[in-house]
Every structure is written in C-alpha cells, then in structure tokens.
C-alpha cells in the first residue's frame, strides 16, 4: 500500500477540512489505490461536484476537475465517452450524489458506464453548515430539522445495485486499511462502480447529535460495521442500525462505452446529401413573381412529403422554394398542412397568404381554405373525400377555378395502394400548371421514394399528369 506524496498538490494546502473530518482519510486511500494499481497520473481524471468532499481533486495531482453541484457524473460521462482510455473516478458527497445528482447516478448505473464513484457519506450537508441530507438518520437534528429528521435515510448502495451498477461496496473512514483494496476493485471493474464510504463530519453532524468528540464518531463506525459475509447470517432485526461493509455486488455486464465503440465499427459510410443542382427542365414561365401552394388534408396522406417533393422540383428548375408545415398534435392523424412558396427571386415571407393553388384532400380542408384562394387561382379537390357542394359555384364566381378528381379512389382501387394518393395529386398539379416541369417533378418523386415504390408511383404520377393536362385543356376550351 504505497503512498506517493508527490501526488499531493501541497501548494493548495492547508485543506479546508475540519479536524476529525473523514474526507482526508478517504483521499489518502484513493491515492493509495491508484499507486497500487500503477496508474499513470496523466491517465486519471478525478472529478467532483460541490461540497467539502468535492474539494478533494484540488489536493491531488491528477487531471482534477471540480464541476457543479450534483452534475459531476454528467460531466464524467462526456469525458469517458470521448476519452475511453482514461480512468475516471469521482468523489461525491451524499448530497451531491444522492440528492441533487440522484438522477445522474441512476442513469450512469443503468448505462453501466465505466466510472468509479466514491460517495463520501457524512449524513449531512457539510459545506453549507449542517443541513439535512438524503442519508441523515431518522430523528437526527440538523440545522434544517431542528425538531428531528422526519425522513428515513436513503440506501445509496441499494439504489446503485437496483439501477444496474456492476460493482457496489460499502466501507467507512474508520476502515482505512480496507479502503484502498475496495477502491482498487472498483477501478478494476469495467463498468459503473460505486463505493459508499461513511465519513464523520464532526462539525456539521457530530456537534448536534450527541457525539462528544470526533473519536466517538469513528468508534461508532467501528462498532457498528458488520462484514457482508457475516451479515448474510444475521436477521433483519439484528442488522438494525448496523453498517454492512464489503463488496455488496460484483457482477460483470457489458460496459456502455465498449458497446458504443462496437456500434461504431458496424456503421457504414457517412450519408451524402443529395444534390439538387438545376438541370435542363424546360417549362412555361411563371405567371407571377411569387407562387403559393397549399396542400391540405389529414395526417397520413403524405402531404408533407408532397410539399417537399414539390419544392425540390422547383429547385431543380432553378427556382427558389420555401416549405412550411403545420405541426403539433395536428401532425398525428389530425389536420395536416404543407405549404410551398415558389419564386425566381429571393423569398422573404415564407408562409402562404393567399394560395394560387389549393389541394384539398379532406372536407374540413376544403371548408377551411377554399375561400382564401387567390383570384385566378385553382382548387384541386379529391372528389373521393370532398363534396364541394354549393361552395364550388361561389368559388368560381370569386374567380378561382375548381378541379375535381377522385384521387384516393384511383390510388386505392386502380393502383391498389392508397399511399400513392399524394403522388397522383402531384401529377395532377403538374398537369394543371404549365410552369411545373413534368420531368423535374417526376425526378423529385423518384429521388424521395425507395426503388421498390418507383414503378407504381411513376404510373400514378403520369396518370395524374395526363388527367391534369386534359382538365386544363377542357377548362381553357370551356
């Protein structure tokens, strides 16, 4: 059990610790454990939170990081993930670890990430002057439980074991001889290790709870400690008020960062963003500088995707396009709205004010939006689902034209797949609008769909396109 004094940052001495405080004993044990293992000091991260206990890294010549109150485990998780080759050990108070940082503790245990956590449990908030902590015994007096502590103390080891830590042990500052060995075992466990070490705080706890001297507190730790092997044969009643010490759990399980590294090995080449550099897609010029399109219906009809495909076709044609969509609870089965603004110029306001085209794929969408269509604009109705009724006449008198096609019926019954309805609709819209290049739209459709869906959707798109052209010709003729 070597003790290499050069591991102390003596420039930071004297320590802040009170006479009789257990934290110094534990610090020494941690240094011994590192010495015994022959760890190179550059390879050790000593991480702490805030508290008397958390001062420890300041006094040892490792890579020493004192973080914020309760968050040391979170910091250490980032460090360990990024530098798996380093040994990361943490020195935490009971308040730090089990109260403010309790959630991080549970989740580090769940992950079984390779951290070694030493909990310096003094039953109290030492640094702030002796307030109740999650491990304060029932009825104890603290500066915030002047009538006695109502709570029962939390079993930190129990939590760590239940949450999935793979090495869990308990000891006390009295058992200075036993400590380095336990800490070393924790270090050697590849996974989450937690060692709870009971540490007297004469100033914050002892004074108010009838301990005459610090020595009384150490005597009590000595007298109450029961090795886990012995405890196995004792009844619950016999164990009341006793401190079960030793290795409580030592069960190997795959470690988190190892799993992560293994996962990385199986990941293929990075994704490439698809390039929409404009191609040669002849089309009629746009009638106005800004063109607005609203695709509306219900979630699941693929209108968001249709809006993206529409926009990408415009970009292929060398135009600008901006897509917005309505979000929220609406995105799940309720109303869905997908909007595209197209321009040859830069687009400032990205939302649709008065659409040039409205696609209505539910009655509700038709009822809500048909009146807002721009004069001279067009409404495409899925007549399988929408009955325009008398509104149609009103709309045409307002100057918008109404086109109807049984989009869903065709998709479902002729193509045999209702999911193609959005692509049929895009075909219709392309047929109805000369400034949309049929090829640009079709290229966009195919690039956004898996190869197995290409044939069916191509058929649907082309059918829609031809129907659209025919409707347009009839409209112009009439």
């Amino acid at each position: 059990m070597a003790f290499d004094k050069s591991l102390l940052r003596t420039a930071e001495f004297p320590t802040i610790w009170c006479p009789g405080c257990g934290h110094g004993i534990i610090t020494q044990a941690a240094i011994r454990a590192c010495n015994d293992m022959g760890l190179a000091r550059d390879d050790v991260y000593a991480v702490s939170g805030i508290g008397c206990s958390a001062r420890t890294p300041a006094y040892i010549d490792f890579n020493s990081i004192q973080t914020t109150h309760g968050r040391a485990i979170a910091f250490a998780t980032g460090m360990k993930m990024f530098r798996p080759e380093k040994h990361v050990f943490l020195l935490l108070g009971d308040g730090d670890c089990a109260s403010i940082g309790g959630n991080h503790l549970i989740h580090a245990c769940r992950r079984n990430i390779d951290l070694t956590v030493l909990v310096l449990n003094n039953f109290i908030y030492g640094m702030t002057g002796g307030q109740v902590s999650p491990t304060t015994p029932h009825n104890s007096r603290t500066t915030t439980t002047m009538y006695g502590n109502l709570d029962e103390p939390l079993d930190i080891c129990g939590i760590a074991m239940a949450a999935g830590a793979t090495f869990v042990a308990r000891s006390t500052a009295y058992h200075a001889q036993q400590l380095p060995g336990l800490i070393e075992q924790g270090f050697r466990n590849r996974g989450m290790s937690l060692i709870e070490i009971l540490s007297p705080c004469p100033t914050g706890f002892g004074n108010r709870n009838n301990y005459r001297t610090p020595a009384d507190m150490y005597d009590e730790l000595r007298d109450n400690a029961v090795p886990v092997e012995k405890a196995k044969n004792m009844s619950e009643k016999e164990l009341e008020g006793r401190i079960v010490t030793g290795v409580l759990k030592n069960a190997g399980r795959e470690e988190y960062v190892d799993r992560y590294s293994a996962m990385l090995k199986n990941i293929g080449a990075p994704d490439e963003l698809s390039d929409l550099a404009s191609g040669n897609y002849p089309a009629e010029p746009m009638r106005s500088e800004r063109f607005e399109c609203r695709l509306s219906g219900s979630g699941g009809q693929g209108l968001i995707l249709a809006g993206i495909i529409f926009s990408e076709a415009m970009i292929r044609q060398g135009k600008n396009a901006v897509h917005t969509q309505s979000y929220g609870p609406e995105a799940r089965g309720g109303a869905s709205r997908s909007e595209v603004v197209v321009s040859a110029e830069r687009i400032d306001f990205p939302e649709v004010s008065a659409p040039d085209i409205l696609l209505a794929m539910t009655q509700d969408a038709f009822d809500r939006f048909s009146a807002g269509v721009r004069k001279g604009g067009a409404i495409l109705i899925d007549s399988t689902l929408v009955n325009p009724g008398p509104a149609a006449a009103r709309i045409s008198s307002d100057g918008a034209r109404c086109f109807e096609y049984p989009i869903s019926d065709y998709a479902k019954n002729t193509l045999g797949d209702i999911r193609t309805a959005n692509i049929v609709a895009l075909g219709l819209l392309s047929g109805l609008n000369g400034f949309i290049s049929r090829d640009a739209m079709l290229d966009s459709v195919l690039s956004r769909l898996p190869a197995r869906a290409h044939d069916l959707n191509k058929t649907g798109f082309e059918h829609g396109f031809n129907e659209g052209r025919a409707m347009l010709a009839a409209d112009k003729g009439g």
Binding site: A74, S311, N320, T324, P350
Partner: protein, 395 residues
Amino acid sequence: MRTAKKGKKAKKGKKICFLQGNEACAEGAIAAGANFFAGYPITPATEIAEVLSRRIPQQKGCFIQMEDELACMGAVVGASLAGARAMTATSGPGFTLLQENIGYAMISEIPCVIVAVQRGGPSTGLPTLSSQSDVMQSRWGTHGDHPSIVYCPNSVSESFHLTVRCFNMAEKYRTPVTLLTDAIMGHMRERVEIPEPGDIELYRRVQPRPGQGDYRPYDAAGAPVKGVPPMANIGDGYRHYISGCVHDETGSPKMSSHAVARRLAGRLRDKISRNRDDIVMSESLHAEDADTLLIAYGSVARPAYEAVLRARRAGKHVGFFRPISLWPSPDKEILAAAEKVKTVVVVEMNCGQYAGEVCRIFGEAGRAVRVVKLNEIGSEFIHPDRIHSVIQEVC
C-alpha cells in the same frame, strides 16, 4: 481519443440541397467537425438530435441522449474539456436547465455550442409555436456577470453557416456560444448551398506548446488571441485543476481575493469586448437615405424586410437593420445605420426584449430617436402586412 479516420477526400464541389432549418443546423455541426453531441428530446429542436444521432456516429464521434438537459450541458462541457467539439440543442424549458452549466463553461472557459430553438413560453407554453422570447435568456440566462456570444439566423442557409461559426467562435474565444433560432426557422425548409468541406474554414482551439512545463491554464499573456489563454485538453499531460470557482492564472481557486476576482472577470469581459469586431455580425440594407429604420432579427427579419421593400417601392425612406449577432450587440453598426434616422421600429415576437436594448444603445450614444415597438406575443408569425401598416403610421 475519438478521431475520425481521414480518408482521401474526393473533390465533390458544392451542393444544392433542400433542408429543414434544424437539419441544416445539424449538417452545419458536422461540417464544423462536431464530434460530441448530448441531447434530450424537446419540440421544436428534436430533429437536430435525431439527425445527429445518425450523422455523428458516422464520423466516429459520440452521440448520447442524456437523462435531462442539466446532464446534456454537463456532458458537453466534460467532453469539450477532454478535447471534443461539443454541442447540445434544446428549446425553452430545456434551455433553462442548461443554464447552470453554461455558467460553468463561461468561468472555466470551455468551448461549446448550444442551439436553442425558441418556442412560446414561459414553462411548457406553446411547444409547437414560435417565439423570440428567449433573447434575454440567451444573454443573461445563467447567473453572474458574463459576456455572451449569440447568433440568430434568418434563413436555413444561415442556420448552416452560423452553426459552423458558433463552433469557430467557441474554440477561438474559449466560451459557450449559442445559436438562437426559433420554431419557424427550425421547421422551415429552404434551398441551401452547402460548400465543399474543404471550403469551410475551421478554427481549432490554441493548445500550449508541447511539453510546455510552465503552462498556466488561465494565463493569457502573449496568447495568439488577445485575452484567451491557450487550452490544454485534460489528459494531455498538464494535469491542471479546473473548477467553477474564481481562480488565479494557475487555476487555483481564490475565493477571497478581490484583486483576483477583478482580474478574472475583467479578462472574461475584455476577451469578448476587445475582439468584438471579429465576433459581431449584422446586416444593414437601404439605410443610406432612411429616416425610419426597421430592426428585426431571426425569422421575423423576413416579413420585416418584405415590408420594408414594399414601403420603399411606395417612396418611403425606410431602412432595414438585422443584428446577426444579438450578443455582443452591434451597437456601433446600429448607430451607423441610424445616422439620419428619427424613428426606429423594432419588430419581434416577444414583449420588446431587443427594443429595450435598442433604447440603451441610442441612450448611451446620447441620440434622441423614437423607438416604436411592434410585438407579437401570441406566437403568430408576423405578417408583412402588419409591419407595413406600422411603417405607414410612423413614416
């Protein structure tokens, strides 16, 4: 340490892509060499985590979904200390939970990037709707006196480029940097030109000279970037002590020395203020002949600019100013744009958080201008018509 294998890079050229704002931000992080991301799901920022959960492992970096945003920021700072280019992304309530550890990164000078996609608040507020109500949180969210660097994009393309810039500024000035976007920006899709990777300039933190025995982690004397001490990654052989305490140049906590506290706080302030010309970004359009200046930022800058153009076509002398860095505030640039201006209209989706700042700027400069606030507090995107009618009233 985790590093991506450098394969031979094929010459690819720039690309035209159609991306969502959040996707562009994630792609910007990849282009900036981000190799650590810790996140927690929250609307409207979740897509950033979703994209990076696929993209970062492809670059051999680390992606982790933490147990909450307090943990996200902790993990990000921890990873950056260890040498990572690290980022998190969140919104409203999550942004609040990041704050304590943002303060840690400020005082201990740890580079990191935070993306905050604003939604309606306070509290759960309006999770799916946009707002600009975290402008002051991005400035003063963490406790204590400190400078902040915050960029605010108004397009998907800028979301990409400013994310890269956030990483560069974070590394250059050893400080957290925030990209403040909003739900409209985050979910909007738009054409983006993605430059070839080799054409994106990346700034990496200055490290001490190898084996520099006298390395003092907070000593900025002679540092290549004025006021910014070179930063050794932990575990690279220096074994310095890092904490959130006020510290001297060696990193040693000094919690009762006014002189040390003053020196540290002063350097932290000055490293940003003295380099402000390198950090500040803004855009000023048609300001030359303006007697009225419209100020808007982020997504709202788009309808605002459209309204300005409309008013100018009708013969109004209206100029337009857009802070791109909200913090540090482009004081000098606003004053220059407003040289002959009598009225300033500040358009924003909050109760006037930036308008207060504008009043400060003109007040400090002794300039008497009328500051008109145009605010939307119900999270409805401001329509150009509404802005235009205010211009008509005041101009």
